[in-house]
């Protein structure tokens, strides 16, 4: 099935309907009838998108400037969603399975409270990738979020399981209050990475300034990094060989919490 934006929303469009779980098995006409919210006004998916074909195998392609379209792939559990262009907030929120690929940039809250599946953003992502919502200590529960470009603040806030990889730089408080899981940032970490982390692993190939509650343990060549980076290469990341085999500084923290989290920073020579 192919959805093509024909009318640009004037105010945010909340379109949970754009999700393979909702679209699978529907004819184009039926799909166009699905409800969306244009600001406070109830509308039809067809008011904004022309719908072609069916999503028999759960594959849906959406094209156009979707930067005002929110909640695409909300609660998605299966299928493939390909977005050709930029996309708005809450992409793949509470996603449980399947795959989302965005060729452009994504807004804030990508994969909020996600528990399974994979989201790939070829461009940049906004703030709070794979995060918790306000008031809740636990964020992402599983799955993978792969951002080829940069990401904003609070990447992986409260993360409990899963993988987040950022090809470029990340913003402030990357991996804040992580409970477990892995965050890889190929570029620079913003300020105060891993603040309040309990367990989990934060990896960066660039130097970083760490909080005074992180303590240096050792410099070593952890084999797990090679495994992770080769995996990311397969997903399309550019990973230079020198990062595969270390050496990496290992810092533990956050001492305010259990001190069982680790931040691994590349410590070898650069080309």
């Amino acid at each position: 099935m192919r959805l093509t934006l024909h009318a640009v929303p004037e105010v945010p469009l909340e379109a949970e309907a754009i999700c393979p779980d909702m679209l699978m098995g529907l004819s184009a006409d039926k799909a166009a009838e699905l409800p969306v919210f244009h600001g406070n006004e109830k509308a039809r998916l067809g008011d904004f998108f022309s719908v072609q074909g069916e999503a028999r195998d759960g594959t849906v392609t959406v094209e156009g400037d979707l930067s005002k379209v929110k909640l695409i792939g909300n609660g998605m559990s299966t299928g493939r969603l390909r977005i050709e262009g930029d996309v708005g907030a809450h992409l793949g929120a509470e996603m449980r399975g399947g795959e989302i690929v965005v060729t452009g940039n994504a807004g804030d809250w990508v994969g909020r409270e996600m528990s399974g599946g994979r989201i790939t953003i070829r461009g940049d992502a906004g703030h709070m990738v794979g995060c918790a919502v306000r008031g809740v200590p636990v964020g992402m529960l599983g799955g993978e979020i792969i951002v080829h470009g940069n990401a904003g603040n609070e990447v992986g806030h409260g993360m409990r399981r899963g993988l987040i990889a950022i090809g470029g730089d990340s913003g402030d408080f990357t991996g804040v209050s992580m409970k477990a899981g892995t965050v890889v940032v190929m570029g620079r970490l913003g300020m105060r990475p891993g603040a309040g982390m309990v367990r989990g692993t934060l990896i960066s190939t660039q130097p970083a300034e760490l909080l005074p509650t992180f303590n240096y343990d050792t410099t070593y060549r952890p084999p797990i990094i090679r495994t992770i980076l080769i995996y990311l290469r397969k997903l399309g990341f550019t990973v230079e060989d020198l990062y595969l085999n270390g050496p990496y500084q290992r810092w533990s923290g956050d001492s305010i919490e259990l001190n069982k989290g680790e931040i691994l920073l590349y410590a070898g020579t650069r080309q």
Binding site: F37, G39, M128, L211, P212, N215, S255
Partner: protein, 440 residues
């Protein structure tokens, strides 16, 4: 000619201190205040400079209009919008705030207050961490250790020291200032800092690191000695501060926008609230935000009890949703989401970021303000209203959530926010066919 009238125990709404011991003398002609006894210089200016000017009661498209016509125009703008946003509210009564929330509810719009641009991060930190707090009288009565973080009370809240904190004489601390230790943390030495016993000048942008180190020390955890190079404060100095905090009888940390609106925002406040909480393992310890506007705390309270959330609330789907960053007004404007804006007692066109103002200029705006503002000058509908606390009675909440009744000094020819908002609400309901099915 009539006598000069005196209002005893009037309530000053200039700042969040909401001092309620002001003695106002009203000029015999009943149109201005000639004396504001007990008020600070800011409060005096607030009362004495207030004049009833000759502005039209309402402007529609820049032309003078009757109230009914303007109310109708405002209601139509809000009803026709798909993402109408209501904003401001921190300088008006709770009675008016309630009407504003009702309007947002009935037009399925968005509501947010100036909290989102001052202590919104504190609200978010509170939701994550909780807080130990106290009414200001408890601090006055008992706090023998007072720490100010990122605020300058001497200049911004001139009576805070004398009425509620550093210099207050109280039953349990009869010596007042002599019975208390005052510490100050800031990036520069302000006039407040020079009155403190202890001053820690932190490098700009390192509040979080200092707070984080203090938390670790309170918990007896590792702190790297690079802290001094990073923050400008030595480990020994921090350790000394921690010992004082742990050993006081009743400690308090007051924090200002120097903490909540600098880099790290809600994490800065969260660290501070967690520090105060941690200290309760040793002694009684509280933390209080120092709020700016006279009734910003009331706005937090009203929006919370009516919707469940303190600010940044959206009714697009027919029920309240909360998400700072998504439904906060700066973001809603900067992203170009809102297609109409109702502003009560605030001037976003003067103080919002450029991108937000640019969008604001492209959408219909309605304003309620006692005086012309940058925002009212570009409004489609602009109401002139009476000033709360000077002309209008009602309820306001002090920065510590204590509700106080206003004692207005003299009447204004202009209607108050509450009246106009109620009229807009009723017109909105008529236009939308919402029956007012009330028995009582």
């Amino acid at each position: 000619m009539s006598e000069a009238k005196t209002i005893h125990n009037a309530v000053c709404t200039f700042c969040g201190c909401v001092c309620d011991d002001i003695e106002l003398v009203v000029a015999p002609e009943g149109k201005s205040i000639t004396r504001a006894g007990n008020a600070c210089e800011l409060g005096r200016a607030w009362f004495l400079e207030h004049r009833i000017e000759d502005y039209p009661v309402a402007l529609v498209d820049g032309k003078e209009a009757g109230l009914e016509e303007a109310v109708d125009a405002a209601a139509r703008i809000l009803v026709e919008a798909r993402f109408p946003a209501v904003y401001g509210l921190s300088d008006t009564t709770c009675e008016a705030q309630k009407e504003a929330v009702a309007i947002a509810d009935f037009v399925n719009g968005n509501i947010d207050t100036t909290t989102s641009v001052c202590h919104g991060p504190s609200g978010m930190a509170f939701q994550g961490t909780g807080e130990s707090t106290a009414s200001l009288g408890e601090i006055k009565n008992r706090a023998d250790f007072i720490l100010y973080w990122g605020g300058n009370p001497v200049e911004a809240h001139p009576r805070h020291f004398e009425r509620y904190s550093a210099k207050a004489k109280a039953a349990y601390l009869p010596g007042g200032r002599a019975d208390r230790t005052i510490a100050m943390v800031d990036v520069r030495k302000t006039r407040s800092a020079s009155e403190a016993d202890i001053f820690l000048q932190v490098r700009p942008g390192s509040d979080f690191e200092v707070l984080w180190a203090l938390r670790a020390l309170v918990r007896g955890k590792y702190v790297d000695d690079s802290i001094e190079a990073r923050t400008g404060i030595s480990l020994e100095t921090l350790q000394d501060l921690v010992e004082r905090m742990k050993n006081c009888q009743f400690g308090v940390i007051f924090f200002g926008m120097g903490l909540s609106m600098t880099r790290g925002r809600h994490f800065n406040v969260s660290a501070l609230l967690a520090l105060a909480t941690d200290l309760n393992a040793f002694t009684h310890f509280v933390a209080n935000p120092v709020r700016g506007h006279g009734n910003v705390t009331g706005a937090d309270n009203v929006v919370s009890w009516q919707t469940g959330y303190p600010f940044g609330v959206n009714f697009n789907r027919g029920y309240p949703r909360f998400n700072p960053g998504e439904f906060t007004t700066v973001d809603v404007l900067a992203r170009g989401d809102a297609d109409a804006l109702l502003v009560i007692a605030s001037d976003p066109a003067a103080n919002f970021p450029r991108r937000a103002i640019e969008h604001l200029k492209t959408i219909p705006v309605i304003t309620l303000d006692p005086k012309p503002t940058r925002t009212s000058q570009l409004a489609r509908v602009a109401f002139t209203v009476a000033a709360y606390g000077i002309n209008v009675p009602g309820t306001v909440y002090r920065m510590d959530n204590v509700a106080l009744p206003l004692r207005p000094a003299f009447d204004s020819p202009y209607p108050c926010d509450e009246e106009i908002l109620r009229a807009i609400k009723e017109r909105v309901c008529e236009l939308k066919g919402i029956g007012r099915r009330e028995v009582a």
